[in-house]
């Protein structure tokens, strides 16, 4: 397997393949029955006929069939005008922390690759932006199966060393992808919250369906350290020598506040939010999230 394919985990793909990624809200790029898209399809290829049902666009009624058989059929196409999904993957230095089998970067990339595979499998368009303090690589949205390789290469950043700065990245994404679609942010969100929320709000205003996969390591959530420890920042030169047990309570309180702030911010802007622990099996995490999202969709 090429190095770039290390983010594709067959088990995870297999587990989530049966789940369709559905846009919870109306997005552009409608495919009949699947996506209620306000846009007209382009470059369609006939696939099959389907009996007309109320609500179908009369433009797609196959009048020739009607003429022969006096029945109304609509034409279906091989590739619908699709869901445009953009994977925003944080590859900053902070993502390089990991105590489990995978660090946050690898876990996040795997989440992104799995989603990309899923999206491509259902013939939707997927693009990718790998970013730290700015967008490092941008892969345009494509529906080709072979596009997956481009995304995987884009995720394979060799030396991530910069800080996360989300607002410029999200702003640029909003500018780059003006058409409404699904924005999936995969990050540890260890950045200033106001720019983060400003950026997410911007995406929502542009009509994007936004999902946030918040990747954190067990250590960051539980802070199990003992004994004298010197913590050195992955993204800056700051360091702290301390007895971690002494600071644990304050740390857990701080990170608890932070998680609550992030969750509330996401909810406030109508963003799907999922906290993923790197120790948790990826397929289970994704399956749980997507199942829950599917349920929400059906309720809608």
């Amino acid at each position: 397997m090429p190095d770039s394919r290390r983010f594709l985990h067959p088990e995870a793909i297999k587990r989530i393949a049966r789940l369709d990624l559905r846009a919870r809200q109306i997005v552009e790029g409608f495919l009949a029955g699947m996506h209620r898209s306000p846009s007209f399809g382009q470059s369609v290829e006939f696939l099959q006929h389907r009996q007309y049902t109320a609500g179908d666009d009369p433009r797609y009624v196959d009048w020739k069939v009607w003429a022969k058989q006096d029945r109304l059929y609509v034409k279906r196409f091989e590739e619908d005008t699709n869901l445009r999904c953009t994977l925003l993957v944080d590859v900053s230095a902070s993502m390089r922390y990991g105590s489990a089998a995978m660090d946050k970067y690898e876990y996040g990339c795997t989440v992104a690759a799995s989603l990309a595979y899923l999206v491509l499998r259902q013939q939707d368009a997927v693009g990718c932006v790998a970013f730290d303090e700015q967008a490092r690589t941008v892969v345009p949205q494509r529906t080709r199966r072979s596009h997956l390789e481009s995304i995987l290469q884009a995720l394979d950043v060799s030396a991530p060393a910069n800080k996360t700065d989300l607002y410029p990245v999200l702003h640029k994404v909003a500018e780059t992808y003006p058409r409404r679609g699904m924005m999936v942010l995969v990050s540890d969100l260890l950045a200033d919250r106001p720019p983060l929320f400003r950026g997410l709000r911007l995406l929502r205003r542009r009509g994007h369906d936004v999902m946030v996969f918040h990747i954190l390591d067990d250590d960051e959530l539980d802070f199990p350290f003992e004994g004298p420890t010197r913590f050195e920042s992955l993204e800056s030169s700051s360091a702290l020598s301390c007895n971690p047990r002494a600071l644990r309570r304050g740390y857990l309180a701080a990170i608890g506040d932070y998680l609550e702030e992030v969750r509330r911010g996401c909810v406030r802007h109508g963003i799907d939010y999922a906290l993923l622990r790197t120790s948790r099996p990826l397929d289970a995490a994704l399956a749980a999230f997507l199942s829950s999202r599917l349920g929400m969709h059906h309720r809608n």
Binding site: A93, S94, M95, R96, Y97, K104, D188, L190, L216, D217, D218, E220, L221, D222, P224, F225, E226, G227, P228, T229, R230, F231, E232, S233, L234, E235, S236, S238, L240, S241, C242, N243, R245, A246, L247, R248, R249, G250, Y251, L252, A253, A254, I255, G256, Y258, L259, Y273, A274, L275, L276, R277, R280, A284, A285, A288, F289, S292
Partner: protein, 738 residues
């Protein structure tokens, strides 16, 4: 300041710095973690910096404190003084061991050592009564401490000290007087453990009030074990000296008859011994003598060197038989009790002796009888009875003070057995040989390889060649009581004795086979002439020549013969050896015939004695005698009254004297005492300066409070460690996606 049982362990306090050291080392040994979520860590650190610092400091202090507490606890701290006493609720038990031996009657100014000791005891009780803590008191005099078999009789036993106790004790002390015993402190010290059974809730202070006489304390090896046990048991030991310095004292060390015949109307000598217990020579020491209450001319002893004992003889003669009292008295000095000494001399009306002569004409016996019982105005007290050999086996021999066997050819077995029994029970047997004697009989029947009466086997008759030049006397006397009178210049008559024949004895026999055989006179040619041996309790003296003039000219008109035979008789009778001398505390013994007397014997003490008349029951003693015993509490003449089964009464008197050694008032210097008692923890101080010593044991062991403190520290350390470190709480967002 607290004291420590193991102060060397306090070096272990350095270990208390270990937590600090570990903390410092850990600061340099931290692990490095490349961390992403620094924001929250820094926020926590900013928020908790002061508290964390304080908590860590507190934790460090608790750990240092815990280690220090462990070290201090192991060192077993003890907090004396009143501060410790506040914590200590145990009773202080004051145990006073009071020396009441007669050396404590040492007098100076208007007081005595015993009075000083009693005043000190009162002061201890008064001081103790003023204390807030509970106190108890015990008092044991040395004379009441009993022996190794116990039997201690404390005057006060663990009496709580209340308000009225000092007065009560003072009343008791007023009645106490020093005893006339010479008892040492050993029994009293051992009684501390045996009598005063240790109560765990008490702390002890033992006061040993004594005069520290050199006789007992210069080499106190036998006292050290008991003293060590006391000091090791956590008891405060105070050696309180009741005498400030040595005072000169003269003691009567002895009063007894010397060798010689003791009988009614027979002159004899008594010997008085005077000991000078001082550093200076004494001149012209007067000794007053009383006989049966009548003063006799005083003795003047010209000089007694320092530390020496001088013996002086004086003549006495009592015209009547029976017990006669003799008393000697010195002039007053530091200790009065040893200035008076008593003796009871029991004089028989006569001394029957038995002379067994083997010859038909009893020639030898006649000469000997004439020497022992000369008749006329000369009284020897001896009644000589001449018998044939068969008398020995047919009559009791116990009444005779000595038996003489003269030129015996042979004796039958029953006679030999009777003689041997007589000698083994203490009788004296003298044998003179002669022409009728045969070595075969003597060796086979009387010597019997050393088991019989005869000291050595006979070899055969020898003739002593005449010394024509008369260069040396035939008899060479040794320094033996029988012939001592001829020593020096007084042997002129003895030198005239000419020995013609004698029996020779081999002297090359192994000495260990005949340990009690001694040669008391030799002939000019070196051959043994007179032998002596011990047989049982008795004595056997053998002259290897004749008692009569057959083989020598000694008995024929030589005055030394009479003298020598009287000395021989005195020696065989052993009156001086039998003279009984009793010391205070000894068991007085009066043998009696159970067939003639009732076993109850009434003992009447001397007039001056504190004790009253008592009755004791006669019983069979370990040595087989049937006798009544009585322990004499003081010196003087005791009278034992025996009741005859026929209604008669018989009284016997016994003289009891103080132990003259106790009159030696030399005391041991404190420095010397400290050296001798190197392993004993004690405090030595004069009686006058003794203060209430309860505070020394007032105090508490801090080990238990420290243990509690340590437990509190460890608990606090755990709490603070929990507080500082916190315990893991449920992980945030463990539910994962949500």
């Amino acid at each position: 300041m607290p004291t420590f049982a193991h102060p060397a362990l306090l070096w272990g306090l350095l270990i208390a710095g270990l937590p600090v050291l570990i903390h410092l080392i850990n600061m340099f040994r931290h692990q490095r973690v490349r961390w992403a979520a620094m924001e929250f860590l820094l926020a926590s650190q900013r928020r908790n910096r002061t508290w964390v610092l304080l908590k860590q400091l507190l934790l460090l202090l608790l750990r240092v404190g815990a280690v220090a507490a462990v070290v201090l606890m192991l060192a077993q701290p003890y907090l004396p003084s009143r501060w410790g006493g506040v914590l200590d609720r145990r009773t202080i038990h004051h145990i006073v061991l009071l020396d009441d031996s007669y050396s404590m009657t040492d007098r100076w100014a208007e007081t005595t050592a015993f009075d000083e000791a009693k005043a000190t005891v009162e002061r201890i009780a008064e001081d103790a009564a003023r204390q807030a803590r509970r106190q108890s008191f015990s008092l044991l005099r040395f004379s009441q401490a009993g022996g190794a078999d116990g039997g201690a009789r404390p005057d006060v036993l663990n009496e709580p000290i209340g308000g009225g106790f000092p007065e009560q004790l003072a009343g008791l002390l007023r009645k106490l007087a020093a005893s006339e015993t010479a008892v040492g402190p050993r029994a009293a010290l051992e009684a501390v453990e045996n009598v005063f059974v240790r109560d765990p809730s008490e702390q002890r202070v033992v006061y040993l009030l004594t005069d520290f006489r050199a006789r007992q304390w210069r080499d106190p090896a036998e006292l050290v074990p008991a003293l060590e046990r006391i000091s090791r048991s956590g008891t405060a030991l105070h050696l309180v000296a009741c005498v400030d310095r040595v005072r000169a004292n003269v003691s009567l060390a002895g009063l007894a008859p010397t060798e010689g015949t003791l009988a009614a109307n027979v002159p004899f000598f008594m010997e008085v011994k005077v000991a000078n217990h001082s550093d200076a020579a004494l001149n012209d020491v007067l000794v007053m003598i009383e006989a049966d209450g009548n003063p006799r001319p005083a003795l003047r002893i010209p000089a007694i060197p320092p530390g020496e004992t001088v013996a002086e003889r004086f003549p006495l003669r009592f015209p009547t038989a029976g017990e006669h009292l003799v008393a000697a008295r010195l002039e007053s000095d530091a200790v009065a009790l040893d200035n008076l000494r008593y003796a009871v001399v029991d004089l028989p009306a006569d001394l029957p002796v038995l002379l067994i002569d083997g010859s038909l004409d009893s020639g030898d016996a006649v000469y000997l009888a004439a020497a022992l019982q000369p008749g006329g105005p000369v009284a020897t007290g001896i009644t000589a009875r001449i018998e044939r050999p068969r008398y020995l086996s047919q009559n009791p021999l116990g009444e005779f003070r000595a038996i003489y066997l003269l030129n015996l050819e042979r004796l039958d077995d029953s006679a030999i057995e009777a003689l041997e029994q007589y000698a083994s029970e203490g009788g004296g047997v003298a044998m003179f040989l002669g022409p009728a004697c045969t070595p075969a009989f003597y060796n086979e029947r009387l010597y019997r390889g050393g088991r019989g009466l005869f000291p050595l086997p006979l070899a055969g008759q020898e003739a002593l060649p005449v010394d024509r030049l008369e260069k040396a006397p035939d008899i060479e006397a040794s320094d033996h009581p029988i012939l001592r009178v001829f020593s020096g210049d007084r042997n002129s008559f003895l030198s005239l004795v000419a020995i013609d024949r004698y029996f020779s004895v081999p002297e090359n026999l192994p000495a260990e086979a005949h340990p009690s055989v001694a040669v008391i006179a030799r002939l000019r040619n070196g051959a043994a002439l007179a032998l002596e041996r011990r047989f049982g309790k008795g004595k056997v003296v053998v002259f290897l020549t004749t008692a009569g003039p057959a083989w020598n000219n000694w008995a024929r008109g030589n005055p030394s013969y009479v003298v020598a035979m009287l000395e021989l008789q005195a020696y065989l009778a052993g009156a001086a050896e039998a003279f009984a001398s009793h010391l205070v505390g000894d068991a007085l013994t009066v043998p009696l015939d159970p067939e003639r007397f009732h076993p109850q014997v009434r003992w009447i003490p001397p007039e001056a004695s504190l004790s009253q008349a008592a009755t004791s029951e006669a019983a069979r003693l370990a040595d087989g005698r049937f006798a009544a015993t009585f322990s004499a509490p003081g010196s003087g003449i005791y009278r034992a009254e025996l009741s005859g089964k026929d209604g008669s009464r018989q009284a016997r008197r016994l003289a009891v004297n103080v132990d003259p050694r106790e009159g030696d008032l030399d005391i041991v210097e404190p420095v010397r005492l400290a050296e001798a008692l190197a392993g004993v923890d004690f405090r030595y101080q004069p009686a006058a300066t003794l203060q209430y010593a309860g505070e020394e044991v007032s105090g508490a062991s801090l080990a238990e409070p420290l243990l509690l403190f340590l437990l509190v520290l460890l608990l606090a350390e755990q709490i603070v460690a929990y507080w500082v470190g916190d315990h893991p709480r449920d992980a945030i967002g463990k539910g994962g996606a949500g």
